[in-house]
Amino acid sequence: MNIDTVMNKYAEISIQTEDFDHGYEVNLLESDNVEDGAVVTFSGRVRNNNLGLKVKGLFLEHYPDMTEKLLAEIIQTAKTRWNIGRVKVIHRIGQLAIGEQIVFVGVTSKHRQDAFAANEFIMDFLKVKAPFWKKELTELGETWLEAKNSDKEKAQAWSK
């Protein structure tokens, strides 16, 4: 399962089982784009522990079609709030081992403050809005992760 939804030149969303190449994605964001001096990226990987439990791996499930729609809405909102250029969001699904990359968000802008804020905004809303679910494989067996209150609070803080 590999769904590539190219929205347009300035915002691309990709939900994929395959790994991604961080440097390649940054080059793409920068290529043919000398207006934007700043690029901020976030990438998240599978940690080796969670809440004190040793983690062996993750399984990621999502709701096809709805995921892309939700992420596109989040990016559009970010574009109305900040003066940003290109945006790329990659989220992996399926079985992932410790240390593997899960998510990438890249944002370009003329001024760094916009790219920092928009990137964190996109991540904060991806966390609480985009229909992905993580099942953790720990030393005690498989568990679906619970949504965190701290994530909900971070997203809510943007509307203050």
Partner: protein, 82 residues
Amino acid sequence: MIKVIFFAALREQLGSSGTEISAKCASTVAEVKDALGKKDQGWKNYLANNSLLCAVNHQMVQGDFSVKAGDEVAFFPPVTGG
């Protein structure tokens, strides 16, 4: 018919990734849940979980949202991506 789908922990609890119900059985999301619960006491218990979310045709909705034939109704736990 209304297409009903389940994700993540709920999918595993129900032992089903989805089903269909007649549009005659339910006119709102809450009624879809009721109709599904009538089939099976186990389903009824799992669907009674207050934290469950619902989307109709890929849009997040509340329980009083109207549904009609051809709709895709999804139930799932709070999301945990990123």
